[in-house]
């Protein structure tokens, strides 16, 4: 009768021998990679060679057992990534990924899109209660203000819990040299607001942003009110205040009602009570410290089957959860860019750095957009 413990010990002995052989072979492979790096550098040859990588993968897969072919792809792609890291190290090229040193929080105005009473203004006020706010017409103007010094920071919406990504803002992150330095999730609590003393029965027409109207479908149903979309919920509230007419009401925030001297006629009227929008803080320089817990990156992959898997695998191996992945079209057709939020990650943490370098080696282009804290701020 076999003793399982003895049998396991024997198998483990064989396994350890293979692991040792693999390690020695890996050492040798990395040493050869260093030599290759020098030849490539002197020979005007790029480190990455897609066709050669595919050849190495295919040749290895051909050698693999039938039930081990898929894992062999993963294994060899990993080896290639480690080889490229070694080559970049050898040539001192990992510096290109070096994230700029953090800057301390500065004083200055906070730019947001819209007018006072808009949700963006509320987010800006939540994040910077003691700062002077400055309004801009378009999201692009908020980015420009941050870049040209018109504002120290900008606050823009990045995603809504129902509607998803704010595509324009992702595109602006792709195009501009700004960093994400903070964020807040804001509860979007829509209210029906009107002239003080207005009864619901007096209302004939309701103004709001298109989204504001659609978020309150159930409340508006069977009311027989005329619904008019305007550019912004705060603009809607202001229109009602300016016209001073009890037949008019707006769907806007409580803060907008207060700002324009209106009364909340019906609070919290959205169909979905959990409606939230995530706003990010953008700045000209990165700001991070040991309390940062999220790293946002953007990258594009090379074009081979499994290219995205090999990038994601780098995060998996570092034990990093990816909270959000967004794909956006590039500036010209047939070109896509991924945006990823890494949870419990910090650029100051060596395991995060290793994961970033590993992932970058698998990408055609890789850029760190920010390292910041998602700690909940006080809500209004």
């Amino acid at each position: 009768m076999t003793n399982p413990k003895e049998e396991l010990a024997k198998l483990r002995e064989r396994l350890d021998k293979v692991t040792a052989d693999l390690t020695l072979a890996f050492n040798e492979r990395q040493r050869i990679s260093s030599e290759i790096a020098v030849v490539k550098a002197n020979g005007n040859i790029a480190i990455t060679d897609d066709a050669r990588e595919q050849f190495v993968v295919d040749s290895s897969v051909a050698l693999a057992d039938a039930d081990n072919k898929a894992n062999t792809v993963t294994f060899v792609r990993g080896l290639i990534a480690l080889s490229k890291i070694r080559q970049n190290e050898k040539l001192g090229l990992l510096n290109a990924l070096e994230f700029a040193p953090p800057r301390a929080r500065i004083d200055g105005k906070i730019a947001y899109q819209g007018i006072a009473g808009a949700w963006s203004e509320q987010a800006a006020h939540t994040l910077f209660p003691d700062s002077e706010l400055t309004e801009r017409e378009y999201f692009a103007d908020v980015f420009d203000a941050v870049l040209d010094g018109g504002a120290a920071y900008g606050v823009v919406p990045l995603e809504n819990s129902r509607a998803g990504a704010v595509g324009d803002v992702y595109d602006l992150l792709r195009r501009n040299a700004v960093y994400i330095v903070g964020q807040v999730w804001l509860d979007i609590t829509q209210c029906l607001v009107g002239i003080s003393g207005t009864q619901l029965s007096e209302v004939r027409e309701v103004f709001s942003h298109e989204q504001g109207l659609s978020q309150c479908n159930r409340f508006l149903r069977n009311k027989n009110w005329e619904l008019t979309a305007v550019s912004n919920t705060a603009v809607a509230a202001k229109m009602v205040a300016d016209k001073d007419n009890r037949k008019l009401a707006a769907i806007a925030s409580r803060r907008a009602a207060e700002l324009f001297g209106l009364e909340v006629l019906a609070p919290d009227i959205a169909d979905d009570k959990g409606n939230k929008t995530r706003f990010i803080v953008i700045a000209k320089n990165p700001e991070y410290d040991e309390h940062s817990d999220t790293v946002t990156v953007t990258f594009s992959t090379n074009h081979y089957s499994g290219a995205l898997v090999s990038v994601l695998q780098a995060f998996m191996l570092a034990g990093i959860n990816l909270k959000r992945i967004e794909s956006r079209p590039g500036a010209v057709p047939n070109n896509y860019r991924f945006f990823v939020d890494m949870e419990d990650a910090n650029i100051l943490n060596p395991s995060t750095r290793d994961a970033l370098i590993q992932a970058a080696m698998q990408c055609e282009y890789f850029e760190i957009l920010g390292c910041y804290s998602t700690a909940e701020q006080n809500k209004i």
Binding site: I45, R175, N176, S300, A331, V332, N335
Partner: protein, 269 residues
């Protein structure tokens, strides 16, 4: 008195300095313009911009409109290419140098380009010279491949007469009977031009030689000869470049070259 009054050294005894977004060329200021021959993809431009900036380049080049000998060769991405240059410039902070081929896109260049390049083949396109001069923007004028130095100076006079005062001249090799190199890089043009004009002079060792192996030695020689700057083709994957891969250097070679340039500049100071 030369026919070219505004370009002549006599009209302006001190060296002119061209300043673009805080970067200076001329009068002892040395600047390097680097980037791929042609703009291919967004990621290519972003990567190369980051690499050449890290190596110390001052400007980003990249062709969106390409003058090609064959009408069937890749002729550039056009306005899409300009868009990608803008993104790479915004991300890297490097100003854009790119070539205009005709007046068709004059408004786009006036709005988006920091230094408008007039290529060797358009050096004597006098209508274009006047129109670009009238934009009053910095201009980089390349010497025609069969043009004399006098012809170059007369050509630049059109731009200056058009209204622009910020013109950089560029020696990029001329057509001779030698076939070992793509062109014959006339480095003696640098001191000759220095004597005749106050305008800054840069050298293009990439087009000047046509071979990446010759880019570094000729770049160093140009710096030693007193050039005010260089324009160098850099590509992340030279062997896969859609245009002029043979004369493009990798970012690694470029970084090494930049260190040597620095040492040559110190040696001749």
């Amino acid at each position: 008195m030369a026919d070219y009054k505004l370009a002549a050294r006599a009209s302006h005894p001190t060296d002119s300095v061209v300043e673009v977004k805080g970067r200076k060329i001329g009068g002892g200021n040395f600047a390097v313009i680097a980037g791929p021959c042609s703009v291919e993809t967004e990621e290519q431009m972003l990567s190369v911009a980051r690499d050449v900036k890290a190596a110390g380049a001052d400007f980003l080049r990249g062709g969106a409109f390409k003058p090609r000998t064959s009408p069937y060769a890749f002729s550039g991405l056009g306005l899409d290419g300009l868009e990608l240059l803008k993104i790479a410039s915004a991300k890297s902070g490097l100003p854009i140098v790119t070539e205009i081929m005709s007046e068709e896109y004059l408004d786009d260049f006036a709005r988006d380009v920091d230094v408008i390049q007039i290529g060797a083949r358009n050096m004597q396109n006098f209508t274009l010279l006047r129109m670009v001069g009238a934009l009053k923007k910095p201009v980089l004028l390349k010497r025609g491949l069969s043009s004399t130095i006098e012809e170059l100076l007369n050509a630049v006079e059109y731009i200056l007469a058009g209204g622009s005062g910020d013109v950089i001249l560029c020696e990029r090799g001329i057509r001779t009977y030698e076939t070992a190199t793509r062109n014959t890089l006339d480095l003696s043009a640098v001191p000759v031009l220095k004597e005749r004009t106050h305008l800054p002079i840069i050298v293009d060792p990439s087009h000047g030689t046509g071979y990446w192996e010759l880019v570094e030695p000729m770049a160093l020689a140009a710096a030693a000869a007193g050039a005010d700057g260089l324009i160098i083709e850099v590509h992340g994957h030279p062997e896969a470049a859609l245009c002029d891969g043979r004369q493009s250097v990798t970012p690694q070679i470029f970084a090494r070259l930049m260190k040597k340039i620095h040492r040559v500049r110190e040696a001749i100071a």
